[in-house]
């Protein structure tokens, strides 16, 4: 028991935080019952929290990426400020505009409203990972074809939200597109183009899948 405790401490003092080693630490203490072990229990409990800067590994666009963050660092800030992945944009930073939309575990989420440490172990997809360098994903191509952007700042978020929508519902109706894209705001007002782009992308993808 005590040797396990020691190894947990080592892991943390080295800041070599990884989900696996940390979870191993978290398991300690749960089995400790009865009198005389309160101190150990308290010790183990300390091991279960992380604070200050820690190194985590994020699975970003299919590649493991090591990054140092604090627990309070949002996924968006980790992507933009630490991993040089600046496609997702920081606008409202309160989960209401959609410019930071990324796909985590197959679902569209607001990167500003998720902690980076909470994204450990999940597949994170950003606009950078949609298509190989120099090529356009069908959704991006449909945005170009339909003039679905003006200033373009909201576009990466819109494209990721569109992709998540089409992954889930390959042939959406106009109403389903409107509801499915409700979490993204464009202040230039390109919604007409976006609506057309999503419907065209659905056709393009349907064609390529058939």
């Amino acid at each position: 028991m005590s040797s396990q405790n020691d190894s947990t401490k080592d892991n943390l003092t080295k800041s070599a935080f990884s989900r696996r080693s940390w979870l191993r630490g978290a398991g300690i203490g749960t089995g400790v019952v009865g009198a005389g072990v309160l101190e150990q229990e308290a010790d183990a409990q300390q091991a279960k929290v992380m604070s200050g800067e820690v190194e985590i590994s994020l699975n970003l666009n299919g590649r493991p990426r090591s990054v140092k963050v604090e627990p309070r660092t949002t996924l968006l800030d980790a992507l933009r400020n630490r991993l040089d992945t600046t496609g997702a944009k920081r606008v409202c930073d309160r989960g209401t505009c959609g410019a930071c939309t990324v796909i985590v575990g197959g679902k569209a989420v607001y990167g500003c409203t998720m902690l980076a440490v909470d994204a450990v172990g999940k597949n994170i997809q950003t606009i950078e990972g949609l298509a190989p360098e120099g090529q356009l994903h069908p959704v991006s191509q449909a945005f170009v074809n339909n003039d679905a952007q003006q200033c373009g700042y909201c576009t990466p978020g819109f494209v990721m939200a569109s992709k998540a929508l089409l992954d889930r519902n390959p042939n959406p109706t106009v109403e389903q597109v409107e509801k499915g894209m409700a979490g993204n705001i464009c202040r230039c007002g390109t919604y007409v183009g976006v609506r057309k782009a999503v419907l065209e992308a659905a056709k393009m993808r349907g064609g390529s899948n058939a």
Partner: protein, 326 residues
């Protein structure tokens, strides 16, 4: 956002060990859609944040005895797309689908919807839940109260932010709350409280407790939710009405009518409920129920418009639940 310690327990027991006796000690993180914004705005700055999403027993939707059990960390998206819920409790599916946006529904959780803090702009600007000015004056009655309560005699005038609350109250659901010393069960209706003093919360939850599940009794009701917003999408309801009817043929045996976004708690329209017993739901009786639902309202200087909206929402929810075309 202030720095904090982060815990990611995988068992309830470990989670209890990480919570504190004060709200400033620790806050719970599940979907994060509310707590992170509150922390960014320094409305709350806990020393520790405890992520409960790794606790497996808090997930899942399943039949349990005579109830349907919804785990605390089930996302609103999983709730909205669940076939069991859709078949028996369409009012809850409708409410879940009405929440904000796909992104929020993918992240936000069922218990988080109940535990989220009010959207009152005075509260969100740091004036506290009771919205008091520097000299202790009540800011809401003489201030910007367009989105505030129409059922409150004070001192709290914010409206409950919960979207699932009205449906769960109308369906007679309860929450199970766990702590190191055991479990307790609270009707969802009683879970919401109108704070009367500073430092009180608007829900019946202590800092060392965790909502673990929601239980909805299964007996068949006809139920529906009707919400009215300024914008159709990505907005909070101005008023929300959920009804559950027990019918014999077309005669109402009992009616539950719960109103959201009009009071610091989920508000039962008991007069309207009583007057429907023994009646058939028609455009006329539904209209009368709507009138009765707002008869005792005490609107503030800028929100009398909510009376009409609520009246209409009650009528439409009743007609929808009974399957009557007006």
């Amino acid at each position: 956002m202030q720095a904090f310690e982060y815990g990611n327990p995988t068992t309830l027991k470990d989670a209890f060990g990480l919570l504190g006796s004060n709200w400033s000690d620790a806050e719970i993180l599940a979907g994060g859609t509310d707590i992170l914004s509150l922390m960014k705005d320094y409305i709350t700055s806990p020393k520790r944040v405890v992520n409960i999403k790794g606790i497996k027993e808090l997930g899942g939707i399943a039949r349990k005895g005579g109830n349907v059990r919804i785990g605390a960390t089930v996302t609103l998206d999983d709730l909205a797309s669940n076939a069991v819920i859709r078949a028996s409790f369409p009012s809850l599916t409708q409410a879940a689908l009405g929440v904000a946006s796909p992104q929020i529904r993918n992240m936000g959780t069922v218990a988080g919807d109940l535990c989220q803090r009010p959207r009152c702009w005075y509260y969100r600007r740091g004036f506290g839940l009771l919205a008091k000015g520097p000299n202790g004056e009540m800011l809401v009655p003489n201030g910007e109260n367009k989105y505030h309560a129409i059922f409150s005699s004070g001192p709290a005038y914010f409206v409950s932010a919960s979207t699932l609350g009205p449906a769960l109250v109308a369906l007679g659901a309860s929450v199970t709350i766990a702590s190191a010393s055991g479990n307790r069960s609270v009707p969802v209706e009683k879970f919401f409280v109108s704070p009367s003093g500073d430092g009180q919360r608007e829900i019946d939850l202590k800092p060392n407790e965790i909502v673990t599940e929601i239980l909805i009794p299964a007996p068949a009701t006809k139920n529906a939710t009707y919400e009215i917003r300024e914008r159709e999408l990505l907005d909070w309801p101005l008023t929300a009405v959920s009804v559950a009817l027990r019918l014999s043929g077309s005669t109402v045996n009992s009616a539950s009518i719960a109103l959201g976004h009009v009071a610091p708690t989920i508000w039962r329209a008991s007069q309207a409920e009583k007057m429907l017993v023994g009646k058939t739901i028609t455009a006329e009786t539904a209209e009368a129920a709507g009138e009765a639902a707002v008869a005792n309202a005490t609107p503030l200087s800028q929100n009398a418009y909510k009376l009409k909206l609520t009246k209409v929402a009650v009528k439409r929810a009743l007609l929808q639940a009974a399957g009557v075309k007006a």
